[in-house]
């Protein structure tokens, strides 16, 4: 399609499905939304997808429901060539829990284990320090990479993924380097993911405060600090809404944030609301994007209620 657009700083998208019949199409819809936001962020992209059913392969000891509930699925990514099965065996030996591998791409896999997150993450770090964990949870898979959003989605086969909600980000870096680790989503706790359009100004202060309480960031990225702040509040017992209120209270800067948990989908903007956001809601879904044209291909969107989220208000949907 012929078009001329000037680039703008970062694009975010998200889709929370209410109608289960749309679930098989989640990846396809997220991909077209993310592609539409390429003009806002061509340097890197990432996506977090939430799905309910992950049946263990036949013969796997994790076949029963209780084990599946204990199992966490870790999105892993390696900067070097890696034998995922060998890594799985070594993690299993170290943690004493079975590990199953679902390859995503040559450099990425989703790895299931009931070992518990602290034990599993420590084992990965010890055995394969070049392997990063973009996210983990019972429902959530996270992929992120540098390059054009369309190419990234194609590489991981995201158009074929099903699920009930997902968020994505196209990045135009301003505060830190263009690397996979610096790209969004930031997912510092189980099933928690955050994408951000904007820039925080006091993030170094907040990062020091978090560090004093034992919460450390993996990167020097400003958005990661917000994700860690929310995760640390939630670890103390706060719900997502409380966590977002903490961001509004403690963090200074410009932001439209889209944050998801296993059951919730939330949008919040700073008090000036000068980073764009538009929401389209129908009986079938809630969709959010930096600009409307990312929503334009969604089914039934022409009949949706389309509105702009208010500043300092937490717009939240639960399943």
């Amino acid at each position: 399609m012929p078009e001329e657009r000037e680039p703008r700083m970062c694009g975010i998208i998200g889709l929370h499905l209410k109608n289960p019949s749309l679930r098989p199409r989640l990846g396809e819809l997220l991909t077209q939304m993310l592609e539409a936001m390429t003009t806002r962020g061509p340097d890197s992209a990432g996506i977090a997808v939430y799905a309910d059913h992950h049946p263990a392969p036949a013969g796997n000891e994790l076949g029963n429901e209780q084990s599946q509930e204990q199992e966490l699925r870790y999105s892993l990514r390696s900067d070097e060539l890696i034998d995922w099965d060998l890594l799985a065996k070594r993690i299993a030996a170290e943690t004493g829990h079975d590990v199953r591998v679902e390859p995503l791409a040559a450099d990425s896999a989703v790895v299931g284990s009931a070992a518990g997150e602290a034990s599993f993450l420590a084992a990965v770090h010890r055995i394969a320090p070049h392997v990063s964990v973009p996210g983990y949870g019972r429902a959530m898979v996270v992929v992120k990479d540098v390059g054009a959003p369309a190419a990234i989605c194609a590489r991981y086969g995201i158009p074929g993924w099903g699920g009930y909600q997902g968020i994505g980000h196209t990045r135009m870096a301003t505060e830190s380097a263009v690397t996979t680790a610096h790209s969004h989503p930031f997912a510092p706790a189980a099933d928690l993911a955050l994408v951000h359009n904007g820039s925080f100004s006091n993030y170094a202060t907040i990062r020091r405060q978090l560090a004093r309480k034992g919460t450390h960031c993996d990167t020097d990225n400003d958005s990661e600090v917000a994700a860690r702040l929310i995760a640390s509040r939630m670890a103390e017992g706060a719900d997502l809404e409380d966590g977002l209120r903490t961001v509004l209270k403690e963090m200074d800067g410009f932001f439209t944030l889209l944050v998801t948990t296993r059951t919730q989908f939330a949008v919040v903007r700073d008090s000036f609301a000068c980073k764009p956001a538009v929401i389209a809601e129908t009986a079938d879904y809630v969709a959010m994007a930096s600009e409307y044209h990312a929503l334009a291909g969604l089914p039934g969107v022409t009949d949706a209620r389309v509105f702009e989220p208010m500043p300092e208000e937490i717009h939240l949907w639960s399943r």
Partner: protein, 227 residues
Amino acid sequence: MEPVILSCADLSARQINAALAALPDGACARVLEPRGRHNLAVGLSNRVRIDIEGNAGYYIGGLGQGPDVVVSGFVGWSVGENLLAGSVRVKGNASECAGASSHGGTIVIEGDASSRAGISLKGGTILVGGNVGHMSGFMAQAGVMLIGGDAGDALGDSLYEAVIYVAGKIASLGSDARVEELTDADVRAVKALAELGGFDHVQPENVTRVASARGLYNFDALKDQKY
């Protein structure tokens, strides 16, 4: 005359605007499948009627000096920015900065407008059927706004000579904005504006008039004795 049909599925914004600019006065055009496209119907000076059939993007109808643009959906930021004459009507909600810096003409938002509606208004007329967000009417210099619903925080901050009428509640007034007594002339003006917008829900005698207290017009060297 049959309307000219232009589809965003086939044409760029530049191509659509060139085709619209070439229309003779009195012509009609339908712009189909806008799908959030920015910069549609921008910079036109012919007296034409343009229907944008769907949700559109940023700067719709901006810099216009003649056309009547109707959007049957939502619009993004800065609809009708710097409008000089003519009109833009949005049947859905509008994003931020609706009618920013408009010098003339009429912008009608049938739904809600977001923050900074009518920022730096320079003489245009902005009619919003629903609510407006924070900092609406910021530094508005001339012209008039009618808000059929509620206004967000800091309404009319640093107002000059524009007047803002609000039918609903005002979350807070901005610096140097004040509520003034509603005169008969105001009621007549609001009645005409409500009719122009098609706002049946606005009762002209019950609106609040907001205008500048003019306290910021001159620098006060003795203010707070800090200088």
